[in-house]
């Protein structure tokens, strides 16, 4: 699918998402808010995995970092908007610091190191205690807003963040940085000798990726009003987002969003029926996606539409 078409599709989805809270109940409002949240994480992965080719399985690290920055800030009476900005920026800074040594590693090594980084953050927070709450978890101030209004506001916050993240990815796909990343994904030394500062490009990509992920984590913390390391740094967050990105199509603009929607809706419908074996089903789903649609839904659609237009051409030629 061309960028133009993807953007048009994104615009339609956005309009639908804007009017949705008027027609759905609180259960589906929560499901959709979760879809947006995990879609932001998937877009974050899209930048570092889809564009740069660095498989950051441990990106949940930044979800947790964002959540804790937002949590600690909100507890220190920082206004919500600023707390989210701090979560976003702070996560980017953390990625910048750790990206410098870690992004020298390639392939599996980087993937695993990113997971280790995620686990290391858990240990650090557990041992840090203090304002982070340590092993006890961290309660956040509870909003005085009426719940219906509050949850709608959080819905729009997530939607807003997802829209921004998608616009960033769209901009990236045509930018110098986007070219640099796709070039180094295919051949790092090839890109270097053509003048691409690969180290800078990779670190920037991870910072953008972390900013998105951290932002989602920050809003999530505000939404949940209680965070602890187990759920904030849950590797399952990056794994789910990774699958959504694959499912939708990595390196595309709206693929991760479509993937998140499909995955989360299917999961929600299945979860409610089989809560006791949901990991078993999730495992089977992961395997099925990798084997059946490794290039993602967006590519399936482009291939189908290419075939359709080819058929149309043929018909026109005959007529």
């Amino acid at each position: 699918m061309k960028a133009k078409h993807q953007l048009a599709a994104a615009a339609v989805l956005l309009v639908l998402a804007l009017i949705l809270p008027a027609v759905i109940d609180n259960y589906w409002l929560r499901v959709m808010t979760t879809v947006f949240m995990i879609a932001i994480v998937a877009q974050g992965l899209n930048v570092i995995v889809g564009f740069a080719g660095y498989h950051a399985f441990g990106n949940a690290a930044f979800f947790g970092v964002g959540a804790y920055i937002a949590g600690v800030s909100l507890n220190a009476q920082v206004p919500l908007a600023l707390a989210i900005v701090l979560a976003t920026g702070g996560s980017a800074v953390v990625a910048g610091i750790f990206g410098w040594p870690l992004l020298r590693l390639r392939g599996h090594y980087f993937a695993i190191a990113s997971v280790a980084l995620n686990m290391a953050f858990v240990e650090v927070i557990l041992n840090l205690g203090g304002v982070t709450g340590g092993a006890m978890g961290l309660p956040l101030p509870i909003s005085p807003m009426p719940p219906d209004l509050l949850y709608r506001m959080i819905y729009y916050m997530m939607l807003g963040a997802l829209t921004v993240a998608t616009l960033v990815v769209w901009h990236l796909s045509g930018s110098r940085l986007g070219y640099a990343l796709r070039a180094l994904r295919d051949s790092e030394s090839g890109a270097e000798v053509m003048g691409v500062d690969t180290v800078k490009a990779k670190i920037l990509a991870w910072m953008i990726s972390a900013a998105m992920t951290g932002c989602a984590g920050g809003i999530w913390a505000y939404w949940l009003t209680f965070i602890e390391v187990g759920s904030a740094f849950d590797i399952g967050i990056s794994m789910r987002a990774y699958i959504m990105m694959l499912l939708g199509g990595m390196g595309t603009i709206i693929g991760p969003v479509v993937g998140a929607f499909v995955f989360e809706i299917v999961a929600t419908l299945v979860w409610s029926e089989f809560t006791h074996i949901h990991n078993l089903l999730l495992g089977m789903f992961l395997i099925a996606v990798v084997i059946l649609v490794p290039n993602g839904i967006i590519h399936l659609i482009s291939r189908a539409s290419a075939r359709l237009s080819a058929a149309r051409e043929l018909r026109r030629a005959k007529a």
């Binding site: 498989h55 599996h108 290391a120 240990e123 699958i243 694959l246 495992g283 395997i287 996606v289």
Partner: protein, 289 residues
């Protein structure tokens, strides 16, 4: 205290070593990081537990049964799920093995519940006393058996035709094909044998650690560190690294406190990855690019 700490480390080193061999060889030969490796260890432990519960079989004697069962599981998963994915994208195998891990853990929760179990034998509590140092019989037997399994794995890979075929495939898939070795079959065998050794490790672990379906998750962290420490794909390196890791852990537990064990492990891991990604004792022989 120093002597006891060293003995504690040495006794567990062998178990960490054989828990890691399969993981390391699979990574080295095929370039696959098998996130389900911990689940294989868990399955091995439950086989020992079940045979002990139902037939009163000694967990050490359950080893051959667990090894055969896991060979079949490992071979089948490689042949049916992983080989096809490997041909399209090596990195996607990570997702598949993660899926297998989730599947196996939940399956065992379904059958055995998530309760923590233990395998008891007549000699479970008894120890050998040498001066101030206590040596648990169970741990001593487990240590000896693990070293034997490790030596057998090493000899298999380096001294038999099949082992040589596996290593040849690792070095150059195309050249191996020309020599009449079918990579897919070699991969199946590698995965099967790796799972079998993990099953043996599971039996040994069942005598030392409490068992639950998430047993493998706690092992996987150690397995990663030991693999990277020993040099990916090197059996000898893994064994030495297993002991090194267990000693460091024992010292961290004794002198810093159990809380710091994990931090020490992660720090070791990240440091080695960054400073010496080829491991302390080996070099990767799988060309990643």
């Amino acid at each position: 205290m120093l002597a006891q700490t060293i003995v504690n480390g040495l006794l567990l080193g062998g178990v960490y070593g054989i828990a890691t061999i399969g993981f390391s060889v699979v990574w080295g030969v095929m370039g696959i990081i098998n996130l389900a490796h911990g689940a294989y260890i868990m399955v091995g432990a439950y086989i020992a537990f079940a045979l002990n519960q139902w037939f009163g079989l000694d967990p050490f004697l359950a080893m051959p049964f667990a090894m055969v069962a896991l060979f079949v599981i490992g071979y089948a998963l490689q042949a049916f799920l992983l080989n096809p994915v490997m041909h399209t994208s090596l990195l996607l195998t990570l997702v598949v093995t993660f899926g297998i891990d989730l599947f196996l853990i939940d399956l065992f929760v379904l059958f055995f519940s998530s309760d923590v179990r233990a395998v008891h034998t007549a000699y479970s509590g008894s120890s050998l006393e040498i001066g101030p140092v206590l040596i648990s019989w169970v741990r001593l037997v487990a240590a000896i058996l693990s070293v034997l399994v490790a030596i057998a794995s090493y000899l298999f890979l380096n001294r038999t035709r099949t082992g040589q075929a596996i290593l040849a495939t690792a070095l150059d898939r195309e050249a191996a094909r020309l020599m009449g070795i079918y990579p897919d079959r070699a991969y199946g065998l590698t995965a099967g044998l790796a799972a079998a050794v993990a099953g043996a490790a599971g039996c040994l672990a069942s005598t030392i650690f409490p068992i639950s379906p998430t047993l493998g998750i706690s092992f996987l962290g150690a397995v990663f560190v030991v693999t990277v420490l020993g040099g990916i794909g090197s059996v000898a390196g893994v064994i030495i690294a297993g002991f090194a890791y267990a000693l460091v852990q024992a010292f961290a537990a004794t002198y810093l406190g159990a809380n710091y064990q994990q931090i020490v492990a992660f720090s070791m891991f990240l440091l080695i990855l960054i400073v010496r990604p080829q491991g302390l004792f080996g070099k990767p022989f799988y060309g990643e690019s």
